[in-house]
Amino acid sequence: MHAVDHLKEAERLMTVCNSCRYCEGLCAVFPAMELRRDFADADLNYLANLCHGCGACYVDCQFSPPHEFNVNVPQTLAKVRADSYRTYAWPKAFQPMFDRNGTAIAVVTAISVAAFILGFALWHDPAVLTSDSGQFYRLMPHNVMAGLFSAISLYALLAIIMGFRAFWKDIGASSVSAGSGLTLWQATKDAAGLRYLDGGGVGCYNKDEKPTDNRRLFHHLTFYGFMLCFAATTTGTIYHYVFDWPAPYGWTELPKLFGIPGGIGLVIGPAGLMYAKLKRHPDMLDPARFGMDTAFLAMMFMTGLTGLALVLVRETPAMGVTLAIHLGVVFALFATMPYGKFVHGFYRFGALALYAAERKADRPATPAGKP
């Protein structure tokens, strides 16, 4: 019936939960489940990506372990969710990247950082690495830097879009017009506010049955930190090409105004999420994906940290090596984006859009393979 055991277990749980329904007020997963009586792989992938892992259904469930019914929705859906990233990844040849994701990303990052250091050293006199000129583009001409990063981010975008399309088609999103403007707007609001990472209103659960709202806060810091950093890079590029106004920029210029708070968010947010992960009740963790989650948080953290470090050491001899590390990390971040935890945001958004559409249509989507 189902491709893997995680999907089988998810189907068993959805049958249990559909007979109970006590959790239907906690989040979007259970109302979406109630629209269905049987669950194809695509249905389960949709529900798994709709789940934010807030943990409320676990601590509220009278049948969670050690009960013999062994109902553990957050953990099971986390496993299905992680498997779904692999299933939909494009191109297929890169799907095994998800199997030992932490190691894979660490290797790509190490190679990338080494390549930048070596590149700088070979391109110029190795002494340039330790000069204190404060001029990034002496190490790497701006056009080369922009070209390289445009290429890798366009590739990441293409791969993510292809994966998302496969997901969107598989879950039958168009059967209930999930791509309509109103639906997408609803999904944008729900995603931007992390509406369903609130344990049904009191804050998500992590360590035990006492609610905290920390994970939502740290996720906001991470996400909005990333967006600010992205905005900083984009405005910098516009300044350069449109206004012919090259870096460095002053403290009151937009790239700095975006970049510094963004970098701080990218340092605190992932560190907080990592701390929460270490404190999380083991029943709700997916130990097999610890590497993937950790690698993602580490990449975000390193991006923020090395970015902030560059601001501090720019006019010192440490600038060259720091820039190489920063660019190496960012390059690796983009290169591995379609093949790591980063994609969760896209699938989550797609699932939220489908949920909004199902609510509006008051019927379930028809997945691609379902009669």
Partner: protein, 465 residues
């Protein structure tokens, strides 16, 4: 390791809704409070873990209630379900108090939501807990612990020191050690004895071995027994319990809500001999589900089979186990281990007796049988469309009625006529005062919260002199 204090103001025995409401009220009343719960932490709360709503009177619609539910209407409902087996004074007092309990319980951190999917009929009368009964319990425990109430799990009470209606101390057993705790007041909120099969046998005989218990194995009634042995006045029929028909494949204990089956009205129900034994279409299911546990308990082997066909499969709430499925009635009989000839005869006779009508499960429709010794008076449709389905069912025991007699103060009454000096009771252990028979959804929680709060307040007043 958990070591109980030697002495507290108020000792609360039990860990469910009534116990927590009592503990919180007593603590807010200025008393030091210890809760001793027989179950380990995961199973704390007895039947409360499996509840989902409470029935409280209210004057107007709210965010989660669709309309008003007045005290008189509540009383009429209670009188009807108990067939008059209730203490009117106490019941009306509880109903009046239930109006205040809804905001009170919300102040203790419990959150509500509109009625769940599939329970529209309760949307006006019953307040549903967001996340269900265990979520409600978690909120109450959190509040109690914040207030400084101490809780000890896995600590069944083995004896009580009671003299002439005066409670002095309780001995509890935890980690293999007995501890004696003195207290100025006792609140007994330790539930009924539905998980105590030996006790059930006193009323039901050997058939009780085939009963399934819907709640935890910790509802053994030990505290109730000790109290009655120490001269507390009993109330309620000692031989009776609330029983519904649940999936026979459910575990012996704690199968909870998901083993219930709502499909009796869509088919026929036969016993081990493949004979029908009751009118399946007598009335709407919410008005009849509570009699089927008793009906099945009276059948040989305490087992029965709900049989229906493809037409009805999607017409009721899903449940944990899939139905037994077969492509012919003969195959179904084989799978159910029923005498095939008798089974085919029963279904054939039933099918032949079905009169034409317009099927509508939302009203008392005109689909009925004619000419059978035992008719099906509504929703009768021929069982003729493969695949055919069946659910095996057994009696599922929810709660027991025997308890301790109390007054408006939740104070226990003594068999020799007086009142207990410092002993109070709340919840299922005294539900029989109000609910002598039958059941109405959510009323057990109302009894628990209202009398729990009263018991806690009085126990604190008592302790502080």
């Amino acid at each position: 390791m958990q070591v109980p204090p030697n002495e507290v103001d108020v000792l609360v025995i039990g860990g469910g809704n009534a116990a927590l409401c009592a503990a919180i009220a007593a603590r807010r009343g200025g008393a030091s409070v210890l809760i001793v719960e027989a179950a380990p932490k995961f199973y704390r709360g007895g039947n409360t873990r499996h509840t989902r709503n409470m029935r409280c009177a209210h004057d107007a619609a709210t965010d989660h209630l669709t309309g008003p539910y007045g005290e008189d209407e509540f009383w009429d409902d209670l009188y009807r379900v108990t067939e008059g087996h209730t203490d009117e004074d106490l019941a009306r007092y509880m109903i009046a108090q239930s109006k205040d309990i809804l905001p009170w319980i919300a102040q203790q951190g419990v959150r509500f939501q509109p009625s769940l999917g599939g329970t529209l009929s309760l949307g006006r009368t019953n307040s549903f807990f967001l996340g269900g009964g265990r979520a409600m319990l978690n909120a109450l425990y959190l509040t109690a612990e914040r207030l400084g109430v101490k809780v000890i799990y896995d600590a069944p009470v083995v004896s009580l020191d009671i003299h002439n209606g005066v409670f002095r101390s309780a001995t509890l057993r935890t980690n293999g050690t007995d501890y004696t705790v003195r207290a100025k007041s006792l609140v007994a909120a330790a539930g009924g004895f539905e998980a105590n099969i030996e006790w059930l046998k006193e009323g039901w005989g050997e058939p009780a071995d085939n009963f399934l218990i819907r709640g935890t194995p910790y509802n053994r009634g030990d505290v109730l027994k000790i109290l009655l042995d120490n001269g507390v006045l009993p109330i309620g029929d000692p031989t009776q319990c609330h029983a519904v028909a649940i999936d026979a494949r459910a575990p012996k204990f704690d199968g909870g809500i998901i083993t219930r089956l709502d499909c009796v009205v869509f088919g026929i129900v036969v016993n081990r001999n493949a004979e029908r034994f009751y009118n399946e279409g007598e009335d709407f299911w919410p008005k009849r589900y509570a009699i089927w546990g008793r009906l099945v308990a009276a059948q040989p082997g305490q087992i029965a089979y709900i049989v229906f066909d493809a037409k009805s499969l999607r017409m009721f709430m899903p449940s944990l186990f899939p139905p037994v499925q077969a492509n012919s009635l003969a195959e179904l009989a084989l799978k159910l281990d029923l005498p095939a000839d008798s089974f085919l005869k029963t279904v054939t006779e039933f099918n032949a007796a079905v009169r034409p009508g317009t099927f509508d499960h939302t009203e008392l429709d005109d689909c009925r049988t004619e000419g059978l010794a035992l008719q099906k008076s509504h929703w009768a449709r021929r069982i003729d469309q493969a695949p055919f389905y069946a659910y095996p069912v057994r009696p599922g025991i929810t709660f027991t009625y025997l308890g301790t007699r109390v007054d408006r103060d939740a104070r226990m009454q003594m068999a020799n006529g007086g009142k207990a000096e410092n002993m109070f009771a709340a919840g299922e252990i005294m539900a029989g005062n109000v609910l002598g028979r039958g059941y109405a959804a959510g009323i057990g929680m109302t009894i628990g919260s209202v009398f729990g709060r009263i018991a806690g307040e009085r126990a604190a007043q008592n302790a502080r002199g």
